[in-house]
């Protein structure tokens, strides 16, 4: 059902946790649907220097969270905002069609975390 890469990121998720003094926090999803993703970012000079996550959800949701926090580190805010659901799914070697929308919340959660950072630093 899942690619080897999805299973790897699900069974050994990277960057699990919270950043106590995060510069931006973004939450996406709804427990009613089964998946909620929370992303914490640390920003220096317009660049994401650290990212962590907490996720309630299925194997795909956890793998997506792990992958996006890996991908985003070192990226400028503009580069990070350019990442889409497809970017994350492709990096994971694909996601089952029915998981593409409900569990692939990483890009949206990240966008919210960046918006949160921007609203605090205006």
């Amino acid at each position: 059902m899942y690619s080897a890469k999805v299973m790897d990121h699900f069974t050994n998720p990277r960057n699990v946790g919270e950043i106590p003094d995060a510069d931006g926090i973004g939450t996406e999803g709804n427990p009613t649907c089964g998946d909620v993703m929370q992303i914490f970012i640390k920003v220096e000079d317009n660049r994401i220097v650290d990212a962590k996550f907490k996720t309630f959800g299925c194997g795909a949701a956890i793998a997506v969270s792990s992958m996006i926090t890996e991908l985003v580190k070192g990226k400028t805010l503009e580069e990070a905002l350019a990442m889409s659901k497809e970017t994350v799914a492709n990096e994971l070697g694909g996601l089952p069609a029915q998981k593409m929308h409900c569990s692939n919340l990483g890009a949206d959660a990240l966008r919210k975390a960046i918006e949160d950072y921007k609203s605090k630093n205006e």
Binding site: N30, G34, G57, G59, C102
Partner: protein, 399 residues
């Protein structure tokens, strides 16, 4: 690595004694039961023998057993067959919210055909209240269908009481006994149902074989038209090996019923006790009045599919009613009908035990399962409570 199969409501392994009984009909004895020469009559005899074995499992007459391809077919047949046969007397049917999809979706089909359907509520243990059944009956009601035992939560419904009510009002009563038949004793005379569905693979028989008990003299419209097989009530050349297997499995289930029940109940109780030390885990379904091998839970703050995958990585195979683990991406309607909040319903996990499970299997599960829960809670934002509200709003489900 240990392999522990705890998903006996999904399906059971084929008993080797059943396979041995089937083998001749997969190889040499291939005749069509309708043929008049010897290979045909041999197959015909084998089917009638199996019919007797299945009838004996529920204490019915052999002539009251109609073989089908599955439990789902038996359910479709019962609902449509009776609703259509009696449509001149009324067009209202009653089912519960505990039913399997093969009942629910047949009921919805009948709704589209112009029938009125009442979907009965259940209490927090998934029990249908016979008084509510009584109050839902109208002059138009021709059929009531209530599941015998729930595969999702194990709860056994008050079938005898409901069938009494139906009898008083001269309404036909069907019960979906797919999860119950072969696993707990059923005496159709005491149960009082007019129709009852079964599936062979739920009691160590093959897949592709089911049966519908239809009380003698009851008129039913066929689901499949064609030849005169099954007395003209279910056409199609019989699946002889599968039917023979169902018969043998029924015979063994009857012989070994008490020992099997004792075995799985002991293991089940140990499992529930062993798992209950974990915080924020809730048994779903009725605490006592449940299938003997059935242990189902909701684990708070984590999701079922993730649990299934981590357990499977340890060789433990179970089931879940969470939205993510279903192809429909909806949390189990059964859990929601019992009033379980949708977030908690995502943490559904179901362990169903069988005759071949051992005490070691249970000890292994009790050792590994809490670790899986701990690991997922470390990842979950909710581990300290349901405080965080997502902002996604509604579920986006695209097929």
């Amino acid at each position: 690595m240990m392999k522990c199969y705890f998903d006996h409501v999904a399906t059971n392994p084929l008993d080797t004694r059943v396979l041995d009984a089937m083998m001749p009909y997969l190889k040499d004895d291939f005749g069509n039961p309708l043929s008049i020469y010897e290979p045909g009559s041999k197959a015909k005899e084998a089917i009638e023998n199996a019919r007797g074995q299945v009838a004996s499992l529920i204490n019915s007459k052999p002539s009251e057993i109609i073989f089908t391809s599955s439990g789902a077919e038996a359910n479709n047949f019962a609902l449509r067959g009776i609703a259509l046969a009696r449509q001149n007397e009324g067009k209202h049917i009653i089912v519960s919210r505990m039913e399997h999809h093969s009942i629910l979706n047949s009921a919805r089909f009948l709704e589209k055909m112009g029938f009125a359907v009442t979907f009965l509520p259940v209490d927090k243990h998934g029990m249908v209240d016979p008084d509510v059944v009584k109050k839902s009956i109208t002059k138009e009601t021709t059929l009531i269908s209530i599941i015998h035992a729930s595969s999702e939560i194990g709860t056994i419904e008050p079938i005898e009481e409901i069938s009494e009510i139906a009898k008083e009002k001269k309404i036909i009563f069907h019960t979906d006994a797919v999860a119950a038949a072969g696993n707990i004793p059923i005496n159709i005379k005491e149960l009082g149902a007019d129709l009852l569905s079964m599936a062979a693979h739920q009691f160590y028989g093959p897949k592709g074989a089911g049966a519908l008990y239809v009380r003698e003299g009851l008129r039913i419209v066929p689901l499949i038209y064609g030849g005169i097989q099954e007395n003209g009530r279910r056409a199609g050349t019989e699946n002889v090996p599968a039917i023979v297997g169902m018969g043998k499995a029924a015979e063994l289930a009857k012989e070994e019923m008490n020992a099997r029940i004792e075995h799985v109940r002991t293991l089940r109780d140990r499992l529930i006790k062993g798992v209950s030390s974990v915080e924020n885990i809730y048994l779903t379904g009725h605490p006592d009045n449940r299938l003997p091998g059935h242990a189902s839970f909701c684990v708070e703050f984590i999701e079922g599919e993730a649990m299934l995958l981590l357990l499977a990585a340890k060789g433990i195979y179970a089931a879940s009613g969470s939205a993510c683990s279903s192809k429909a991406l909806k949390a189990s309607p059964v859990l929601l009908a019992m009033g379980i909040p949708s977030g908690l319903a995502q943490g559904s996990i179901v362990f169903t035990l069988g005759k071949d499970n051992s005490g070691d299997d249970i000890e292994y599960l009790i050792a590994e399962f809490p670790q899986v829960i701990k690991r997922l809670r470390e990842i979950s934002p909710y581990a300290k409570g349901w405080g965080i509200k997502g902002e996604g709003g509604e579920c986006i489900v695209q097929k």
